[in-house]
């Protein structure tokens, strides 16, 4: 038995690396053999090396607070999360299935709305969706695809089942950390990468570039691709810059772009204006174009919607794609997959209760102490309540919110999120985690190998968001030679 897991607590939850028998799972055995070969100081040495590397590489994210914006070093745990390729292949198929169906769904919503007419998706849900953009009606973007980049959050419950927790179809972030985590691990444990078959992740920037390039209205020419960022104060600025660099794209702010009378988008260069073919935008719809959406937006580009509508520029994700990134719409995704693909969902949804329906709302209100309740349109873990962890007063206050605006809330049972060994001080302790793979779609479909594993660094905590004290691990998909 590995000395690192001698006193590892026995499975109260599903552990990603340690089986119910207290032994490393097949896919993580090589990792523990390697850890055992390190001397006592070895692990700490490597952790210090990683902390130093993170500092000089400037891998940071920005936290907003009253005290000003603080650039925090990326909290990284050196124990990877390991999964066998066999299991991963099934998950990957499920993710591709899901995004394919979601894109068919979004395109239908903005065009014929067959799914509504056929009674599968209720009109009232659509009507209540804050991310539905009437301005997009009648548009079919290239390939009929609206969400080109999707970050889907997966969790594993106590019995080992992997569920989709949510789909992020607006501006999902985190992929740069996935890539940087791997760089760090390769610096740290080069030997392991030689001895085990850990699948690489670093083709993502190339695939992202190809996904975007396919959207260019001027096919046959080398497209001008830009990453549109809200600027240096955005919490994901590091990622915007990172991806632009890796793709050889221009990193632009709204003020760098202008839409001329010909309804084409140009960027302001030292030699005048240059036409832009594809915009990978990392700005929410609301701020994209003051002419079409929020008038007070200083981040966006006036006339961008006009240019997009005229087919003169590709925008990823397309404006309005967020309609399917709504936690109430989420509950319908299994039906959406059935409806468009005539297939059963490969990865199940977490069972969900919609507060818009009287009977489900009554159940939610009666069982608030057992459920997690989420608002439909928030991300980053904001505005939700974890019933079992909340005080009776907090629950009562939340119940009022639900009654006031039932369409805005959905509830799920509190899952027993899986754990993985995490280095705390000089030993390993279980910490809860999730997984965010990134899926790309334009002319082709692509899924990252694994994804970003986010881990709640506080004992017992279920909150993995980096804005709220979460950290990350490298994610290893290990080819065990199985069919």
């Amino acid at each position: 038995m590995s000395r690192f897991i001698n006193d590892y607590p026995s499975a109260e939850f599903y552990d990603e690396l340690i089986g119910a028998d207290g032994q490393p799972r097949d896919a993580s055995r090589a990792l523990f053999d390697h850890l055992d070969a390190l001397d006592a100081a070895g692990l700490d040495e490597r952790r210090q090396a990683v902390d130093a590397a993170i500092m000089t590489m400037g891998v940071t994210f920005t936290v907003y607070s009253d005290a000003g914006n603080i650039d925090r070093a990326w909290p990284f745990d050196i124990i990877p999360r390991v999964m066998s390729r066999k299991e991963w292949d099934r998950i990957e198929a499920g993710l591709k299935q899901r995004l394919t169906a979601l894109n068919l769904f979004i395109n239908d919503l903005y065009n014929e709305q067959r799914i509504v007419k056929d009674g599968v998706f209720p009109l009232e849900v659509l009507a209540g969706s804050r991310n539905f953009r009437a301005q997009c009606m009648g548009i079919t973007p290239r390939f009929g695809v609206w969400a080109h980049v999707c970050g889907t959050d997966l969790v594993r419950d106590k019995d080992g089942t992997v569920y989709v927790l949510e789909d992020n179809l607006r501006v999902p972030s985190g992929v740069s950390y996935m890539l940087e985590n791997r760089q760090l691990m390769k610096r740290l444990f080069p030997e392991l990468f030689q001895s085990s078959d850990i699948l690489p992740v670093d083709d993502y920037p190339t695939r992202l570039h190809d996904t975007l390039a396919a959207l260019s209205p001027r096919q046959g020419q080398r497209p001008v691709v830009v990453v549109l960022t809200p600027g240096i104060f955005n919490s994901a600025y590091f990622e915007h810059s990172y991806l632009a660099q890796k793709m050889g794209a221009f990193l632009v702010e709204g003020s760098d772009l202008v839409v001329r009378k010909d309804d084409c988008v140009y960027m302001k260069t030292i030699s005048g204006l240059r036409r832009v073919d594809v915009i990978y935008r990392r700005i929410d719809d609301d701020f994209l174009d003051p002419e079409a959406f929020r008038e007070d937006s200083a981040l966006g580009v006036r006339g961008l919607m006009r240019a997009w509508r005229a087919g003169n520029v590709g925008i990823a994700n397309a404006p309005g794609a967020g309609v399917a990134d709504d936690k109430v719409v989420y509950a319908f995704v299994p039906k959406v997959i059935q409806y468009y693909l005539d297939q059963d969902p490969i990865i199940p949804n977490v069972p969900s209760y919609l507060c818009m329906y009287d009977d489900e709302r009554d159940y939610v209100l009666a069982n608030l102490d057992k459920l997690v309740v989420k608002p439909a349109n928030e991300s980053g873990g904001y505005g939700m309540i974890i019933g079992p962890r909340a005080t009776p007063e907090e629950r009562a206050a939340f119940a009022d919110l639900i009654r006031a605006n039932p369409r805005n809330y959905m509830a799920q049972p509190t899952l027993s999120l899986s754990t993985a060994p995490t280095l705390i001080g000089d030993h390993l302790e279980p910490r809860h985690l999730d997984l965010r793979p990134f899926i790309l779609q334009s002319d082709k479909l692509y899924c990252t190998t694994g994804g970003l594993t986010r881990v709640a660094m506080k004992a017992g905590s279920l909150v993995v968001n980096s804005s709220q004290g979460g950290g990350a691990k490298d994610t290893w998909i290990v080819d065990m030679g199985e069919e």
Partner: protein, 323 residues
């Protein structure tokens, strides 16, 4: 290249150059002050005059003294030209264009920032520590330059870095040469002679030019020869003439360079017309002042041509580059 990125590159290079120049100037002044004749009133406030920061200093501090001046020049963030503030600005600028630089450059610049952030306080605790910390700044900044030269294509981004660095460098050279007009020499002729020679040695040292001066001009440190060397020598990399030459080379690699080039040529002509033999402290000060104005004009011309957003918006309905 985006105008905003070009402007940020340009300023990043200026800030980095400024930080290194300030570090060098503090170190060389410290060396010379140690063995200066007592009769000469060469105070630490000379450092403030060179940087053009005397007024800002007076807003925040009482009388000029070594400890306060060092604090002000090294780590006071209320002084945008302090070493810490310059490096911090350079780093913030670099963040906005990390995608156009080799990845390693960012790591080095970030490393330089972390170094000065963690050591700036130590640099204000005595002369030997100051020497060591500032040397650390110079070394790290030099490693950034080395990396730029060795790992970056001489593309547009590179040209804007060069432009910023050379304008800042030329400006700093005129300021350092100008220091001498701010110093009162002792009254008796013999002491004055010694003090004057010391001063010109500081000037050369501050620009790391002492050795090259000796090799290429002569062993004696004489005012007019030093001024000629530092302003008009074509080969030493910190002379005004050399910097102007570099600036012209950069401009040639850019588009629409006519207006800035015209301004650069004008500065060049003034330098060529300058006579060094009959300079009085007053006439030298006047000439240097003119040169600083020329460099200011050059900055404005570059800024209007390549950075100005207003200029761009006017262009929006005019010609479009076809790739």
């Amino acid at each position: 290249m985006l105008s905003r990125v070009a402007e940020n590159l340009y300023w990043m290079a200026r800030y980095m150059e400024r930080a290194e120049n300030t570090a060098r100037f503090i170190n060389s002044t410290t060396q010379v002050l140690l063995d200066l004749h007592r009769g000469a009133s060469f105070g630490w406030d000379v450092l403030l005059k060179v940087a053009g920061l005397d007024d800002l200093y007076k807003e925040h501090y009482a009388t000029p003294n070594e400890a306060d001046i060092m604090r002000f020049l090294i780590l006071d963030e209320r002084n945008p030209s302090s070493i810490l503030a310059s490096i911090s600005s350079a780093r913030e600028n670099t963040r906005t264009f990390r995608e156009v630089l080799p990845m390693e450059i960012w790591e080095r610049i970030n490393g330089l920032y972390l170094y000065i952030r963690d050591n700036a306080a130590r640099a204000t605790q005595g002369r030997s520590q100051r020497w060591e910390v500032l040397n650390g700044v110079i070394e790290r900044r030099q490693s950034v330059i080395g990396l730029l030269m060795g790992s970056m294509s001489q593309d547009l981004a590179y040209q804007f870095l060069q432009l910023g660095r050379n304008i800042e460098r030329a400006d700093m050279t005129t300021r350092i040469v100008d220091v001498n007009s701010a110093v009162r020499l002792p009254d008796d002729a013999a002491s004055a002679e010694v003090a004057r020679e010391r001063l010109w040695m500081t000037t050369l040292n501050a620009l790391s030019a002492f050795q090259m001066y000796r090799q290429h001009v002569g062993v004696h440190v004489v005012g007019p020869a030093v001024v000629r060397f530092l302003l008009a020598d074509p080969h030493f990399p910190r002379t005004v003439r050399h910097c102007l030459g570099e600036i012209e080379n950069c401009l040639c690699d850019l588009v629409d360079y006519e207006v800035p080039m015209h301004v650069a040529r004008h500065a060049w002509k003034r330098l060529e017309a300058m006579r060094f033999d009959n300079l009085t402290p007053e006439s030298l000060h006047h000439e240097l002042d003119q040169m600083q104005q020329d460099l200011g004009e050059l900055h404005n011309a570059i800024s209007r041509q390549y950075f100005s957003q207003r200029h761009m918006v006017n262009l929006a309905e005019q010609a479009v580059v076809t790739q």
